[in-house]
């Protein structure tokens, strides 16, 4: 917790894996300073390769989006809105204008869904759920079929292209499962200088997040809300966010759905077609032979 120093859950050793406690990330843009230390720490610890650099022109975000070689992604939103009670100066050519403006940073990550599309889709059993409730891709099992890529409602997981190392497999955030097994905190949370990323027990984080939203609303952040889609078929996420404004501005779907909900109607249609094809063919041969 903020102000707890080395007593914070981000710094303490833990035994969540051994105790089978559900853990999570709570990411709070109201204290994020956009330093991208989380991106760097993630790349360093997990040996995530450099996947090229382009000037995006999208504010200070030259990372782009989550993918096979980007497991943390700091978003830079420029919005013509007030940020809390912050006073902004004039920006336009016209000296009289006092345009409201805010710069919001949010570190995006795999959501580790309660009902995960990638996990359900994986035909090799490479993607599994861990003791702490996170979703893990076992790199040595994945054969790179690419079905998880189109099954993720958040567009997180992707297949790593050549010539990067370990190319061909699907990759995403591991929730630093290797670190967690040793009682360590995920690398991104460990380095976050403002505790914008908080790691801890999921139930603790949820209550902490609710308090934070109330506090921000009282401080003038009228559009602060939690992004934690528990009402949809993904049934909640282990890495949830506080956001200012609408989810769409962060590229987050309002109602993310796990694609398995579409299976029933699709298979019904497939079986009906299968039956109709057999009947039509047999009828053709019966009547026209």
């Amino acid at each position: 917790m903020i102000g707890q120093g080395i007593q914070s859950t981000n710094q303490r050793k833990h035994s969540y894996v051994q105790d089978r406690v559900e853990v999570g990330f709570f990411t709070d843009p109201s204290v994020c300073i956009g330093c991208k230390a989380c991106e760097v720490a993630c790349k360093e610890w997990n040996h995530v390769p450099d996947d090229g650099f382009i000037w995006s022109g999208n504010s200070y975000d030259n990372t782009g989006h989550l993918g096979a070689s980007t497991w943390r992604h700091v978003m830079f939103l420029e919005q013509d809105r007030q940020k809390g009670n912050q006073v902004t100066g004039p920006m336009g050519l016209d000296a009289q204008s006092e345009d409201p403006f805010r710069w919001v940073f949010l570190s995006d990550v795999c959501k580790h869904c309660e009902e995960a599309g990638c996990l359900e889709a994986c035909p090799t059993g490479s993607i599994v759920r861990t003791e702490v409730g996170s979703v893990l891709v076992q790199n040595d099992v994945c054969n790179g079929c690419g079905y998880c890529v189109v099954s993720c409602p958040f567009g997180v997981i992707d297949r790593r292209p050549e010539p990067l190392h370990d190319a061909g497999g699907a990759f995403k955030c591991t929730f630093c499962y290797d670190r967690q097994k040793s009682g360590l905190v995920p690398a991104c949370a460990k380095v976050c200088p403002t505790e914008s990323i908080v790691f801890g027990r999921l139930d603790d984080l949820r209550s902490r997040a609710n308090e934070r939203v109330q506090h921000l609303k009282q401080s003038g952040y009228s559009d602060a809300q939690l992004y934690d889609p528990t009402e949809t078929s993904v049934r909640g996420i282990h890495a949830f966010f506080l956001i200012l404004g609408e989810p769409e501005a962060y590229g987050l779907p309002l109602k993310p759905q796990i694609p398995t909900i579409y299976l029933k109607s699709a298979w019904t249609s497939a079986f009906a077609t299968a039956l109709a094809s057999i009947v039509a063919t047999l009828a053709a041969f019966a009547f026209f032979s």
Partner: protein, 329 residues
């Protein structure tokens, strides 16, 4: 931006001022439309990930459809005593389903040498897992089915043993037909049960289209191979009729921005051309007894529309507005 726009002029003034005075007290330049980039979502970036699949996948859909439905025709040919047709269909099924399809599927994998991992688990909630098992089961039926049929036709064994070979062939051809129908239709489920808006919004249509296109392609291919019999002609009428109905359904059942990849741009044309070739055009050609042309039209349309549906997925998955619009359905 032209050099005589007001903002560029202001920029020049600022540069001159900075050069002369070393410091600029005034304000910067208001870029047209700035400073907030007005693009949907987060800088117009994709919300879901478009498919990574390459050319092998639409080809696999095409050959898998032919293989699977060819086995259904094989079953009918055996039941209604068309030995030549039965042999041809089983050869088509084996080549397309047990040779071409697995090769294409393995080629599409990011790590082809790990293809056997597909059979590590059986997950009924994953259409990809089901597909791997369906293709395996189909291969396990169609290869012995073909061998038994050939032995039976050549009368390789004498007397009672020949009878037994006939029964074995019948069982395996029946199995091929059952798994074949699933092989031809599951591909619709595969892409229908995903997070790609243009795909999941048409998850009911896709298996019907893929299965019917498979049956029509199989019948058309056999006609082109010289099996011009009235029964295959009837199948040709049936599939072209269904595809015409699907064309109408697709043009009526629009979802605005959510599935615009099906109706707009190059991908829209691929779908439309594919549907017209398999539907109305094949129907008309067959009606006027231009049977080889109808068969070619259908085969071409079936291939183009498979390519089209994968292309649609790439466009739709890259379009954040489609994802947001699809949440209303």
């Amino acid at each position: 931006m032209t050099t005589n726009s007001p903002s560029e002029k202001r920029l020049e003034e600022l540069r001159e001022q900075a050069w002369k005075d070393g410091v600029v007290p005034g304000k910067g330049v208001d870029v047209a439309g700035g400073p907030i980039p007005r693009k949907p979502g987060y800088y117009g970036q994709a919300v879901v990930k478009p498919p990574v699949w390459t050319w092998q996948v639409p080809l696999y859909f095409f050959f898998g459809g032919i293989a699977g439905m060819s086995a259904v025709i094989a079953l009918a040919a055996v039941l209604f005593h068309h030995p030549d047709l039965a042999r041809a269909t089983m050869w088509v099924s084996t080549v397309a389903g047990a040779v071409l399809s697995p090769i294409l599927l393995v080629m599409d994998l990011g790590r082809p040498h790990l293809f056997l991992n597909m059979l590590r688990v059986f997950k009924h909630r994953s259409a990809m897992s089901m597909g791997a098992w369906i293709l395996s089961a189909f291969g396990a039926c169609v290869v012995p089915g073909l061998i038994a049929l050939e032995l039976r036709v050549q009368q390789f064994f004498p007397g009672a043993l020949d009878q037994l070979v006939g029964v074995v062939a019948g069982i395996f051809i029946f199995g091929s037909a059952i798994f074949g129908t699933l092989l031809a239709t599951y591909t619709g489920v595969l892409i229908g049960a995903t997070a790609i808006p243009a795909w999941f919004l048409h998850r009911t249509l896709l298996p019907i289209h893929f299965g019917t296109a498979g049956l029509g392609s199989a019948a058309g291919l056999l006609e082109l191979l010289g099996h011009r019999i009235p029964a295959l002609n009837f199948v040709g009428f049936y599939v072209a009729g269904v595809e015409t109905a699907l064309l109408i359904w697709l043009s009526v059942n629009k979802h605005g921005a959510a599935d615009r990849a099906i109706h707009e741009h190059g991908t829209g044309w691929l779908i439309r051309v594919g549907e017209v070739l398999t539907g109305p055009l094949a129907l008309v050609l067959r009606f006027f007894s231009f049977i080889p042309f109808a068969a070619i039209s259908f085969l071409l349309g079936a291939l183009i529309s498979r390519v089209g549906w994968i292309a649609v997925g790439k466009v739709s998955g890259s379009d954040p507005e489609s994802v947001f619009a699809a949440e209303r359905y």
